[in-house]
């Protein structure tokens, strides 16, 4: 039963790569957006908030199709990126990472936003009176105190990215070795005769990855909390 075939390994490793890259690249953007939403008042804030949450409520196939329209080879952004930076998303694993990153974004932003809101602003004032410019206050006080939330957001985002299916398959299709993640591999396998056993193996693997991510996040968050408040 647990003889994982090379094709399955390919899908597993690709999923891990896609989800890791998606979570890592999305995190700085997530922190920036979370900070804007938590701390700033500006025209269009409600719009930004809605836009961030859109992937959560749109049918994934719609998100995937919108990505194809904008980031595809003929899409406005996609064509520009391909011409100027050589960055191609369509039918590449990078496109899978983009789709996963966008689908995971609302889950990533939320815990970060909540923990920025929970940071005591009086500590930031104290830092300013000690000579810290606003960006240094952010780096030396706000961000370290937000760390447990950032970790929680990254893990949630990673878990969501590992499981993402609809937007990914719509945007970059289901190409073994390039865009076939665990989810799309399972989808292909259960439509194939004799695919049940390999599909089940991948189901077990994806469950294990999700659980490992949760355990790791719990461990990191506890360590971060101890670092923040403990001895």
């Amino acid at each position: 039963m647990f003889d994982i075939s090379p094709t399955e390994w390919t899908a597993i490793l690709l999923s891990l790569r896609v989800a890791t890259v998606a979570a890592l690249v999305a995190t700085p953007f997530g922190i920036a957006v979370a900070w804007l939403l938590a701390r700033r008042d500006f025209w269009g804030k409600a719009l930004l908030d809605a836009l961030v949450h859109l992937p959560l409520v749109l049918p994934p196939v719609v998100t995937g199709y919108l990505l194809l329209l904008t980031f595809g080879r003929r899409g406005v952004v996609g064509a520009w990126l391909a011409d100027h930076l050589g960055l191609v998303f369509a039918f590449r694993w990078t496109g899978a990472a983009l789709a996963c990153g966008i689908m995971a974004f609302p889950l990533l932003v939320r815990p970060i936003r909540l923990s920025i809101e929970a940071v005591d602003r009086r500590l930031e004032q104290a830092a300013a009176t000690l000579g810290a410019a606003p960006w240094r206050v952010f780096l030396t006080v706000t961000l370290p105190l937000t760390l447990p939330g950032v970790i929680a957001g990254m893990v949630l985002g990673f878990a969501k990215a590992i499981g993402e299916f609809g937007a990914t398959i719509t945007f970059v299709s289901n190409i073994p070795g390039e865009t076939q993640t665990i989810s799309s591999a399972i989808y292909s396998l259960i439509q194939t005769p004799d695919g049940d056993a390999p599909a089940l193996r991948l189901v077990v693997v994806s469950t294990l990855i999700a659980m490992a991510a949760l355990v790791a996040s719990e461990w990191f968050a506890r360590r971060a909390l101890r670092r923040l408040h403990g001895n």
Partner: protein, 227 residues
Amino acid sequence: MLRVDVAKRLGEFTIDASFASEGRVTGLFGASGAGKTSLINMIAGLLRPDRGSIAVDGETLDDTARGFHMPVHRRRIGYVFQDARLFPHLDVRGNLDYGRRMNRLPEDGALWRRVTELLDIGDLLDRRPGKLSGGERQRVALGRALLSQPRLLLLDEPLGSLDEERKEEILPYLVRLRDEAGIPMVYVSHDALEMRKLASRIVMLQRGRVTAFGGSEVLPAEVAKIA
């Protein structure tokens, strides 16, 4: 030399205060709600006056006529808050060193020794703020402000959150600070006894206005607290 001439509206409450003080310790004295904290928040730059100007040693920090407001982090004004506000993610050493790092000052072993000895906090360096008593926390907050090498030190009821016993513990340090640190201070309190012990000039504040200015004779005759 500290010159303050400001007005600020805060909801129903209005502060309209003006004084100039040369003393080593300027006491801001008044009941709670008199506007003491708002006034020193304006000196620190945390609050922007609606009208008026603030200057320290001839340098303008605020001047609404010219639309000038120096940001908090450029003022070099130390602030010891009633609730200490130590950084929970840094140990005592990290808290004490924070101002030096932010102001990009060179390490100064002599100053470090002088301040840690003055406040008896040399044994606490590796501890986290969460493991300190209220009195220790306030001493570390004093040290942190001093080590940022400010030109003026603001103290907002630094004994306010401590019980009587702890107050007795901290007060001698404040006296030493006044006599040895050589930094002019603004000391906020509603406690006439503290004022008598520490302040050389006293600004009496009532409902946002300066009602008296002078030596300790402007304090209430009996040494009693006004709550």
